[in-house]
Amino acid sequence: MDEILLQILNGLDKGGAYALIALGLTIIFGTLGVVNFAHGALFMLGAFCAVAVKAFLGMEKVTLDPTQTTAWGTPMEIRQPYMEAWFGEFGRLVVDFSVPFSVLVAVPVMLIVGIAMERGLIRFFYKRPHADQILVTFGLAIVLQEIIKSFFGANPIPQPAPEAAQGMIDFGIALGFDAGNVVYPAWRLIYFLFSLAVIGGVFAFLQLTTFGMVVRAGMADRETVGLLGIDIDRRFTVVFGIAAVVAGLAGAMYTPILSPDYHMGMDFLVLSFVVVVVGGMGSLPGAVLAGFLLGILQSFASMNEVKDIFPGIDQIIIYLIAVVILLVRPRGLLGRKGVMEH
């Protein structure tokens, strides 16, 4: 029982990340009709916002100590972070909290990236075939990740969670389990709650604001909204920016769980497409539902008891679910007719 509970937690946590990435992707699909193969790269850029913030906050003052030499004969470098040198203990704390801080940076940065991408490139591709959209966004994704690689290298860069969030939370006790039986890392719980908050924020924005209403109307029927004399294009620019922010936030907060490297976007790309399609093209609730569903099923499929019966099931579970769902429900869980079918 505790085992299943833990796997559900794992699934929710994973699902949170899947849902966030898929959410942005499906917004772009639904509103702009663009197949965005650079969406994984946006996730990666978000993660590197965290890397950059940590690198910035952790900038070190380098002094050479002539009395000591390195193994290769040059004077030893003495490094001290400026933040620590200037602000002492407080400075250390600031560096320690670099990942949460990076969220504040990621929002404007990703918004700008998203808007620049839409204005500078994507908008010329609204009327082009999906194949062209795939080629151009895939090319962009490669360019973005190569740029990141040339700055940060190919190796994963550790981004620890703040010390305060590095421990485990034992909430099994509250549910009547023995102490220590159902414990879960604090940061992962924070990530799950964070993903819920972002998802909630996006939904609230689309449901409650007039801007959101227009966007939803645009998702339903772009031409009609255009006929109403609303400048839908301007709004779609912002929509793209929002999708980029959502992906970026998902990436920035995920760094303590998965040390970021330049290639992580590609690893999430296929998965996020599967999530979106399983949820149903252009359906926001579908993307969220599919994200959590796939996360939880993936966790269950990895349990030893399951793997004993179906060896290798954890390798293919995501794809298997995708096939089954698409064959049973032609447009995914909550998809609408006619979106992205041609």
């Binding site: 505790d2 085992e3 833990l6 796997q7 937690l9 794992n10 699934g11 946590d13 994973k14 990340a17 390195t70 193994a71 290769w72 004969g73 040059t74 470098e77 490094r79 690689k149 290298g153 190919a154 190796n155 994963p156 860069i157 550790p158 620890p160 969670a161 590095q166 421990g167 485990m168 039986n181 414990v183 890392p185 940061w187 992962r188 303590p256 769980i257 998965l258 040390s259 490297d261 290639h263 992580m264 690893d267 993936q298 966790s299 990895s302 349990m303 030893n304 793997k307 290798g312 954890d314 390798q315």
Partner: protein, 446 residues
């Protein structure tokens, strides 16, 4: 039908079938006749092919390998401070190139994919005339390229490849490995684990679901079970799983008190970081402190895992903090050129280049069979691993193995591992038959 064995440069020297071939029109002058073996250098240079991952997850490791190769070529050609040439026990190389020829090199990108690595190696052999291929950062690629070099008739000096199969089941006469393997890791690590954790332990394995992972899992199981450890479970994880939480949570309440992560590269970075996140490093089970073991360590992985590496045991082929003369010379030479110490991948690649060059010099030829004969059974010292021997039976180097531990208080971003023990060579040696496979005959490509 008579035996037909025709090679690339060899004209069709079969029977009647020869007429079917592509006879060269007379206006062409063919140089195919003169070569005695594949890519025999005819000018005043000899070309080596450095095939390393430049894109993909191991790009940084590949970049470090390439640095080492460039350094080795400099030293062979008499530039720079000579590095380990001065500490190497064989004194044949004088910094005047090899066999009177200057050493030149070409590079290629393996992408850590067998197909791409073979394509790249083929380019270097077919187009650039490389007489030896070296490099790589994974066993799948090493075995694939080794097979290719055997078919083409050039020597393959493996880079970083840790699977038993490279010099076991899939060994080839034209292939040589300086790096150690999972068998040696198991033999070296087990006694240290016993000293530190006792002989009454319950181990839980997480294993990357491909040949290297299985090989590693098998070795560790074998040697730890000999010590009296019990293996609670061995779970296979998909390559590139990213988030391993669903594999780690079952460890929590499994009763195991040791977690063995048979992962490498990004998988290892992620699984270790996440295992520490789940509190496994600080846990107490069965009244004992929980332990995490990572059988194969590398500095780049340690950098990726950050603080999670502290106190974790593992093994490595070489580490720059070693204080023997060879290591010191190499670290000095590498550090002065690039500003930071070399990784184990860089070290093994450097050594392989020097060993190859030395063998050519001793053989007085670049002919694969002659070079191979010079390498077989060759005993040497001064390359950072103590007395070492290239065993003739499987073309595997036998040397001391380092058992390392993540440092608690690293002084720099490179000083992440400390050497706990140097397991002597005698302890990690095994009979060549143990791992099966056949070397087969050398292929000179002509």
């Amino acid at each position: 039908m008579s035996k037909l064995y025709v090679n690339r440069r060899g004209l069709l020297k079969g029977t009647a079938a020869a007429g079917v071939g592509l006879a060269a029109p007379t206006i062409f002058t063919s140089r195919a006749w003169s070569a005695e073996y594949m890519n025999e250098p005819t000018g005043d240079t000899v070309t080596l092919g450095f095939n390393v991952p430049q894109t993909g997850a191991y790009a940084d490791e590949g970049a470090d390998e390439l640095r080492a190769y460039q350094l080795a070529v400099e030293h062979l050609n008499g530039e720079g401070d000579g590095g380990m040439l001065s500490t190497f026990s064989s004194k044949e190389l004088k910094g005047e190139g090899v066999n009177g020829k200057k050493v030149a090199f070409v590079t290629g990108d393996t992408q850590t994919k067998s197909d791409a690595a073979r394509a790249s190696a083929k380019r270097m052999i077919e187009k650039d005339g490389a007489v030896m291929i070296t490099g790589g950062s994974s066993s799948g690629v090493a075995i694939a390229v080794q097979g290719l070099c055997q078919e083409a008739g050039v020597i393959f000096m493996a880079g970083l490849t840790h699977s038993n199969d490279t010099t076991g089941k899939d060994k080839r006469a034209n292939g040589f490995r300086h790096f150690f393997n999972t068998e040696m890791t198991g033999a070296a690590l087990a006694p240290v684990l016993k000293n530190n954790f006792g002989s009454d332990r319950k181990a839980y394995h997480l294993t990357a679901d491909y040949t290297w992972g299985w090989s590693q899992e098998g070795s560790i199981k074998k040697y730890t079970e000999e010590l009296g450890w019990e293996t609670v479970a061995a779970v296979r994880t998909p390559l590139g799983a990213g988030d391993f939480s669903q594999y780690i949570t079952p460890v929590l309440n499994s009763g195991a008190d040791v977690l063995v992560l048979n992962h490498y590269g990004r998988d290892m970075v992620n699984s270790l970081t996440q295992a520490v996140q789940f509190g496994l490093r600080d846990k107490e089970v069965n009244g004992k402190k929980f332990a995490i073991v990572v059988p194969l360590f590398s500095r780049l992985m340690a950098q990726g895992a950050g603080d999670a590496i502290k106190g974790i045991f593992g093994s490595t082929n070489w580490h720059w903090s070693l204080q023997d003369e060879g290591s010191k010379a190499f670290v000095k030479s590498f550090g002065q050129k690039y500003g930071f110490p070399p990784s184990q991948a860089a070290h093994t690649c450097y050594c392989q280049t020097i060993l190859y060059a030395d063998a050519c010099q001793r053989a007085g030829s670049f002919r694969p069979s002659a070079v191979g004969a010079a390498l077989e059974g060759f005993s040497f010292d001064g390359l950072g691993n103590g007395p070492t021997e290239y065993r003739a039976a499987d073309h595997q180097c036998f040397k001391d193995v380092l058992v390392v531990k993540g440092k608690e208080n690293p002084s720099s971003n490179y000083d992440l591992l400390e050497v706990v023990e140097i397991t002597p060579r005698a302890q990690v040696e095994y009979p060549a038959e143990l791992l099966g496979g056949e070397l087969g005959p050398y292929n000179d490509g002509a």
